[in-house]
Subunit: 340 residues, 2 copies
DNA sequence: AAAATATTCGAAAACGATTTCGTATTTAAA
DNA sequence: TTTAAATACGAAATCGTTTTCGAATATTTT
């Protein structure tokens, strides 16, 4: 792999000093327009490409941003990254993307790889196993800008982008109640997750608000094994005091519910109504079509990127403010919560 | 952002020369075991993290691999990247991920950003608009290892990983014929794409093999606008000589077909049988469940990564061989092609 | 015309690692 | 005991930029 021409060689061709060429290319006021033109045209002619590592070393910036997500096979995260990229690419930033596969140990490894300046900032959504956050605190204290979205980490005083989890879950539960549900179950991944806590609160409050005493048996913590979850939900649906409504706090649990229902002689929405947080592209092609609470994923990504770009490109910016910014989700009612 | 301690500072603490410390950490034979121990323990104590850019500059490697895909919101590509990451992360490589959004101009921009050594290699699947490949040829000629998967570029003499597109399409079409289809349509994105050409060949040959003369009207080139495609397919289904079977060469066109069917009074599979290349996670939750040809996406990613790691880590490796490696897809028959 | 100020550029240091070359001390061979 | 070879480390160059400092020439001011 032959790298192209270097600044020094370019300077030699021009019979100029490297410093002059560097300044000319960076449009410094110290260089006359005449030489600037000469330098630029020669640079283009020889297809000069500055070495990013020399520049990074000198300037102590990497021009890249690390994005850490719990899983790739998930439209929500894909959309967020699209949103991030749409902003950052305009400013010459590159995206290093890592998946933790919902594994804290992997998350720690990834984070430790980012201690050395390889990325100028981190945008992340924590894994569902993450309760010990020392690795994140460590990174934060080194001064590396971190920004959370969706699954945030309250203990780190930085900016977080979420959706209105509480209200959305509240509204979703209310919708189920309005459709006649009496016993609503809440499906979640891990109680450690910020989103499940918030969504669970919304669920509980909606029940209480309707004068219904929540049954703890109906708040169900699932795993990452789809097969296990399907089994668990199937048993739930076959139990004598089965729920007649389900709020899935993440998409995959709604899908497991659909699979589980197939193994019973129940049907959606007649025997069981289902609503789910989901960013899948085809909720209306499911049978029945799925009522969803959809996050503005791409916008979340864009907002993350905007605040980050500001922090990284403008001089003397303060630390990312310790605040939680909420972008509202959208409830779309479909057949899975229909009364007929 | 305070970067950690440098090698020089570490050396000072140890009252050793930087060169010695460097060698000790790299386990050089020139350094005694005693000093190695001292150096390593001190490095751990002070949490020394080598600066990746100094190293990259000196060694002329980036330790990162660029992955270019046409879209993120697509399980197939997500799975491939998971596969790549599973191998490369073990070897200390980082993944720079770019999406072209099916836009050649974006693809060219991304590729031009990769001319300066920021990545040690490229793994990519070309955009559906890509017919002029000068930007890729350029990169190849600079000696940067490029590796294609799925949507390959025949003109670049390097290794390509695909699935058995021809055979899969042949078998898929044969299956439709066996289920009684008489007029089978082929849905594709762009004739420029290697996968559509191969899959189309398989489709045509299967028809001819069954003594059916292919109608060019039934080979339909779609766009990237889902709404347009749904409209197009709806019109097709409403035409007097409508097809009774559809082979979708990519997943999104099968989904558009499902949407289109909803707008007619036809039903799948009774009036129209559908089969599609697809890596979606829930083909069996569609209504009706979708018969799919599924690529071994993660394995493709892993194989790409393995050959690349070999090329990048072993000394004096030859160029990536100019060969096409095929990993077989799997046909899974579901309701959408059922006879009842 | 002399002095002060712009204007334009070059030399060299710096970023933080690796590596070539050189050298002092030990150890082994003659 | 002398010589040769092995061992263990240091000094300095190097990768390709940017930037500080310095200086020469040109321009303006007094």
């Amino acid at each position: 792999m032959k790298n192209g021409i270097s600044l020094k060689e370019l300077a030699a061709r021009l019979k100029l000093a490297p410093s002059t060429v560097s300044r000319a290319l960076n449009d410094s006021y110290e260089i006359s327009e005449a030489t600037k033109k000469k330098v630029i045209s020669m640079a283009e002619k020889l297809n000069y490409q500055p070495n990013p590592f020399a520049r990074s070393l000198r300037e102590n910036k990497s021009k890249s941003i690390a994005v850490i997500i719990p899983e790739r096979i998930n439209n929500f995260f894909a959309q967020v990254i699209d949103g991030i990229e749409s902003i950052t690419s305009e400013h010459g930033y590159h995206l290093l993307v890592y998946s933790t596969h919902e594994d804290v140990e992997k998350e720690k490894k990834i984070v430790s790889l980012l201690q050395n300046g390889r990325a100028d900032a981190i945008v992340m959504s924590v894994s569902s196993q993450t309760n010990d956050i020392s690795h994140l605190k460590n990174l934060y204290e080194r001064g590396l800008p971190i920004l959370f979205f969706d699954r945030v980490c309250a203990e780190i005083p930085t900016t977080k982008f979420i959706t209105n989890d509480y209200e959305s879950a509240f509204e979703g539960t209310k919708h189920l109640l309005q459709q006649g549900c009496k016993r609503i179950a809440f499906l979640m991944l891990s109680m450690e997750l910020s989103i499940t806590r918030e969504r669970h609160r919304g669920y509980l409050d909606a029940l209480k608000n309707a004068g219904i005493e929540p049954e703890s048996r109906l708040s169900i913590c699932c795993s990452h094994q789809d097969a296990e979850n399907i089994q668990l939900i199937t048993e739930l649906l076959n139990s004598k005091s089965r729920p007649d409504g389900i709020l899935a706090s993440v998409e995959k649990l709604a899908l497991s519910t659909y699979h589980a229902v197939k193994k019973t002689d129940l049907s959606i929405p007649d025997d069981l109504k289902v609503i789910s947080f989901s960013n899948m592209s085809i909720p209306n092609l499911l049978n029945p079509s799925l009522t969803t609470i959809t996050q503005p994923a791409e916008a979340i990504g864009q907002e993350c990127a905007k605040i980050l770009i500001k922090k990284l490109t403008k001089p003397r910016q303060p630390d990312l403010p310790n605040e939680v910014i909420s972008l509202p989700s959208k409830l779309t009612i479909r057949e899975s919560t229909l009364v007929r």
